[in-house]
């Protein structure tokens, strides 16, 4: 590892000196971009459990790619985005990543959609020294310790998606201050990293706000009939049901719980934050609150532009995943612009791009964007509530501390 890092540094120094020697100033580096293509690959869950999120990410990314290419590209170079479906499957995700990396042309990867798959894909990208930007993974140990339980930082892994470690506690804090709930039951999918991480965060947080967790009801993702699972939770008569799960499951649980007479509050995680889930839950989901990385009507300068363009292109409102996908492309484009890419030495270019990503400082629909030292995102948390017909309303916003 250490020698590897040293080799990179030496390589970098050589490359930089080579650039410096060949041509002075930024103008020439711009010229070297002219007519070139910056190739990016995205591994998204377009089908399977994550299929409610991946397509949104893809739309957001494509929107940004088109916008940049239509306005002169990156110093004259075009962006090309190769999107592959991993079917929400960890093994398939790793396989797709391997294929993309082995093509040898890509400068950076985006994704994968699910934290569960990131565990397989991110270490792969790290070992091949190709920058990877996570756009929707919110679990624990995504950055910087992608090789968890090993703790040495993964230097090529970044994420622009708000972690559940921030979002869930913020959500609980806001609700506790407002409604003072006494009891809760946690419903958690136990065969998926994203869901079980969320469950752990809920368990570790509720005590601080005087909420007693009466029970934790675990279930596998493939559960068909949620009636027994929901009955077990509802019969404890909790003030709050916490749901940490993904795909269509939160909606199913809400519908079943309302049918069984539950009148309390639903709180949850990132799994709530897409229009598909809000639409599926409909009336049953009305008022369900979650911490989100983005809110439709936020007043950040580049958000209005994003929302307008998204509506024009796709005819509907974007969601958080679209905003994060869109921001990711802006981040990579900005880094590529400043990275002095050679377009001949791919491994060298990847490392230059990685270095430039560390100093990104741009406006995105998520707000002003910079990576933390750990390559993570630091941003406003929007506590939002489902509105009962596919959308969300704002409950409150909490600025980063």
């Amino acid at each position: 590892m250490r020698t590897g890092a040293r080799a990179i540094v030496v390589g970098l120094v050589l490359l930089l000196s080579a650039c410096g020697g060949s041509a002075p100033g930024g103008a020439s580096s711009s010229n070297s971009y002219q007519g070139k293509t910056i190739q990016l690959g995205a591994i998204l869950s377009l089908t399977g459990a994550g299929g409610v999120y991946g397509p949104s990410s893809q739309k957001g990314m494509q929107l940004a790619v088109d916008k940049i290419n239509n306005s002169g590209g990156v110093n004259g170079a075009k962006l090309a985005l190769d999107v592959r479906d991993d079917a929400s499957d960890k093994a398939q995700s790793a396989q797709v990543a391997q294929t993309l990396i082995q093509q040898g042309q890509l400068l950076a990867l985006l994704g994968p959609t699910l934290s569960n798959s990131a565990v397989a894909v991110h270490p792969l990208a790290e070992s091949f020294k190709i920058p990877i930007l996570a756009v929707s993974t919110t679990g624990i140990h995504i950055v910087p310790d992608c090789n968890y339980p090993k703790t040495d930082p993964c230097t090529y892994v970044f994420r622009d998606s708000l972690g559940e470690e921030t979002a869930i506690p913020t959500n609980i804090k806001v609700y506790a201050a407002k409604a003072h709930p006494k009891t809760g039951v946690l419903m958690v999918a136990n065969d998926d990293k994203f869901s079980s991480d969320g469950g752990k965060i809920v368990q570790n947080t509720v005590g601080q706000y005087g909420i007693q967790l009466l029970d934790t009801v675990a279930f596998p993702k493939a559960t068909a009939d949620f009636s027994p699972v929901v009955t077990k939770a509802v019969q404890k008569h909790p003030d709050v049901i916490f749901i940490t799960s993904l795909g269509g499951i939160p909606a199913k649980i809400m519908i079943e719980a309302r049918r069984q007479g539950f009148t309390g509050q639903f709180l949850g995680g990132n799994g709530f934050n897409t229009a598909v889930v809000s639409t599926q839950a409909a009336d049953a989901g009305k008022g369900a609150e979650s911490g989100s990385a983005w809110y439709l009507n936020n007043t950040f300068p580049s958000n209005a532009d994003f929302v307008h363009n998204y509506r024009t292109k796709y005819g509907g409102d974007p969601d958080q995943f679209a905003a994060q996908g869109y921001a990711a492309i802006l981040i990579l484009a900005d880094a590529a612009k400043r990275a002095n890419l050679t377009f001949s030495d791919t491994p060298g270019d990847r490392t230059k791009l990685r270095d430039a990503m560390q100093s990104v400082n741009i406006q995105t629909p998520l707000g002003p964007f910079q990576f933390t030292q750990n390559h993570d995102v630091k941003q406003t948390v929007w506590v939002i509530a489902m509105d009962g017909h596919g959308g969300f309303t704002l409950v409150s916003s909490v600025n980063p501390s």
Binding site: V217, P220, P228, G261, A282
Partner: protein
Amino acid sequence: MAQQLLNAIFIGSIYALFAVGYTLVFGVLDVLNLAHSAVFMLGAVITYSLVALHGVPFLPAAVIAVLVCGLLGLLIEFVALRPLRRRNAPPISALISTIGLALIFVAIVEQATPSSFFHWLWQDGANSVRFPSNAVPNPTFHVLGLTIEGTKLLILITTVVLMLVLGYVIRFTQLGRALRAVAENRRAATLLGIQVDRIFASTLFLSSALGGLAGLLFGLAISDISPYIGRDQVELKGLAVIVLGGMGSIPGAVLGGYLLGMIEVLAFVRFGSNIEAGVAFAALFLVLVLRPQGLFGARLRERL
């Protein structure tokens, strides 16, 4: 607890309905039709497509889907079973050919393009849909603190009525007598003038129509319609149910279905989801150790 028992009865009904079709084919033809789970899935997705995307009211859509599934049963017979039977292939060959057909059925749904009949798969990427709430009313009753959903009640009633009808047909009609004769001894039945091939075709039609019905009721009550519900939710469980009930026995399949539903739910309540399936299958194993022929399994001549 009472609510959980109710939950068990509802899910048990679906297992029973699925397993009856499964066991019927085994009883008469002596082969396991592993395409049954794919037909189950098609029952749900065809009904959904008709209702949600083509504006057909639920009841006619359900009838069409059940008939289509019945016809698919004939397809299974003519494509996967009869040619092998003609060549005296061993039963394992039929098993493999029905697996092949199942994969093809699932793939056809999966490969749907945005303008095709099953295009809802690409509607929002969710890959799992449910009937629009206005298409199928689902009144919820609250009785003595218990929650009873209309759709689940419908499943229970449908299952019980169908089992009674099926029992009557097999016991007292000409077709039923022929079925039992073929199950007992194919050659003797032929010698008695029964057209065995026609009986096989009828059996597949009946079995697949039941499978499709089970699928659409599953989609209705469980709100989970996707290309994978057959494979993920009922294939193995259905197999367990018919082994538990006694291969080829219809009352066995019904009882086995309810028993598996009950064991699963109780195991979940008592031990949690992590070992629910383990407990359920351990219980099944125990039953089979004590009664290797299954609950209603008997010597060959008493089948059906």
